[in-house]
Symmetry: C2
Subunit: 339 residues, 2 copies
């Protein structure tokens, strides 16, 4: 089965382009006045729960409801005029689909989004409303990456994959720059980990400013391929995992992302679905914010690590998004669970 290894190899030189702090700073300049500068919330109740001082960077308040807008916009804005004129293509059934459509609309670039034909009607509609041309595929018989590559070649489109791309990584790192600007010093940082766009970007930004910060990626327990990969020293592929953290159920981290995680991330830990539900409820009940399960990964790990924190430690947590269907959200709020 073709994977994004082959895809990346077909579009990049063998030594993968690696973004650095200058690229994150350049991305921040592109996003200035376009992306929301999202608020950083604090909560004494959360501090008690974690035994530390917590700073929550609220990317659930970002345009499109998730951090994904940053990377998508940065990647399209970094294209040549000619590339932007021709248009871009991506594949995603999640937040990246809407982010690319939205960013394309703002930048006057046509966007083709490859989505499974059984994707939720709501997500298809939202992507179309932002002006994305949705191209359906059958996820049981067809391969979305192949379709993406073919469309890119046939139509002269530029492929903007969801995480395995230097400009996407650099864009995702800009949330961390803002968090640092507000919190100033941080001792520890928790970031959700799926394909590694947000974690790699955040790690570049955090490490450049705070050489001694402890950077922790957080995966769903059922999909700990990143944890396995860091241990093995190479990218480990796993079968499609099952978790309510639907933004982080990837089969492997990205090839641009992995070397950055190897160099800059201190540890990768996991959170169970039950912990995510308990955290999602905490956010609704005590902090009055809607956070999707994937967005709860960092906080769930911070709450579980209470014994490792020392009271005065300053801990940054990135809440990656808030896009969750209200029916599903209501079930999480009320179903009996003993996390």
């Amino acid at each position: 089965m073709p994977s994004s290894i082959q895809l990346a190899a077909s579009t990049e030189p063998d030594d993968l382009a690696r973004p650095g702090i200058d690229d994150v700073v350049a991305a921040a300049a592109r996003l200035q006045g376009v992306a929301h500068r999202t608020p950083v919330l604090t909560s004494r109740t959360a501090d008690k729960k974690a035994g530390a001082q917590l700073f929550f960077k609220c990317e659930n308040f970002q345009r499109g409801g998730a951090f994904k807008f940053r990377g998508a916009y940065n990647a399209i804005a970094a294209l040549t005029d000619e590339q932007r004129r021709r248009g871009v293509v991506t594949y995603s059934s999640g937040n990246h689909a809407q982010a690319v459509a939205y960013a394309g609309k703002l930048l006057g670039t046509s966007t083709t989004i490859i989505m499974p034909k059984d994707a939720p009607a709501l997500k298809i509609r939202a992507t179309q409303e932002y002006g994305g041309q949705v191209q359906f595929y059958d996820r049981y018989t067809e391969n979305r990456e192949e379709i993406g590559r073919r469309l890119a070649q046939e139509r002269g489109l530029t492929l903007i994959p969801p995480y395995d791309h230097p400009d996407v990584i650099a864009g995702q790192g800009t949330a961390m720059l803002e968090l640092l600007d507000e919190a100033q010093h941080l001792d520890v940082l928790y970031v959700p980990l799926g394909g590694g766009g947000l974690l790699a970007g955040s790690a570049i930004a955090a490490r450049a400013h705070l050489p001694n910060i402890r950077i922790i990626g957080v995966e769903p327990e059922a999909g700990n391929d990143g944890q396995q990969s860091l241990k093995a020293g190479k990218i480990i592929h796993i079968p499609a995992p099952k978790s309510i953290a639907d933004g982080a159920v990837v089969t492997h981290v990205g090839h641009h992302n992995f070397p950055i995680l190897q160099d800059l991330v201190d540890d990768i830990v996991t959170a169970s679905d039950a912990e995510l539900v308990a955290t999602l409820r905490f956010f609704a009940e005590r902090m009055k914010i809607v956070v999707e399960p994937t967005g709860c990964l960092g906080a769930a790990a911070a709450f579980a690590s209470v014994n490792q924190h020392r009271g005065q430690q300053r801990v940054g947590i990135i809440l990656s998004g808030g896009n969750v269907d209200l029916e599903r959200y209501s079930k999480f709020l009320t179903e009996s669970s003993h996390a």
Copy 2:
């Protein structure tokens, strides 16, 4: 039936003490570093819905989950040392109960909270956790204001009623000062109206800075006593109204509050329960924030007034709180409704 008219008359001179902008500014100084300076959120989707530029002051992120902390803290902080040593008493089954208990704890003042014995266990527990001494009464056979007055006399306590008090009004006005500081100019302001503490305080602050701002109070449709009172030129009492906006189901506005509303408020409008539910969902789905039904009053009215706004108008909206039981909240998010 004794009402707070008699209560007020027994504790205040005939010409009721009326707070002004200096009192709101003094309250802001007392609350500095104690109350959260809550964020002001914006949303392009909300702007489209209302046909104007909206600025949402998020008091759902206030300590204790509602603006009530401001007034309660200010009123207790304004007491003499001797009064604070003796303690305070209040009656409330809602956000004011927790706010007084919390403020008392921070200021080292013992607090007695008169609550109906059938109040939700969660609210009783929260009040007790903040250190409030809960005194139960039977709301079918006893009068809470009489009990409050009796306890105040017997034990030398100072009564801090939920809204009918100059220092409570001045404290509630501080949220508006912060909103003005951030939004600078506003053309219109929507504020929830129950007893009139938040509306009176906000109106004092807004009118002092923007003489031409249009100030609109918003009541639940089923409990439009304020609207009736403004029309009649005197305080109208109504039977206890039924609405999901449980923070605004009062039988009459306060006696300190009414003259301020008469002088400074331009109009009072209403929102139906169906409109409140639709607005509550909008906040969860598009803005990712939890707002209680009462807190939705201002936004519901702004969305319903789309034809009266002109696109460039700047509209301030105070979201008064986010305290809603998760079971109940889930029902609002999912029950079929055609607002």
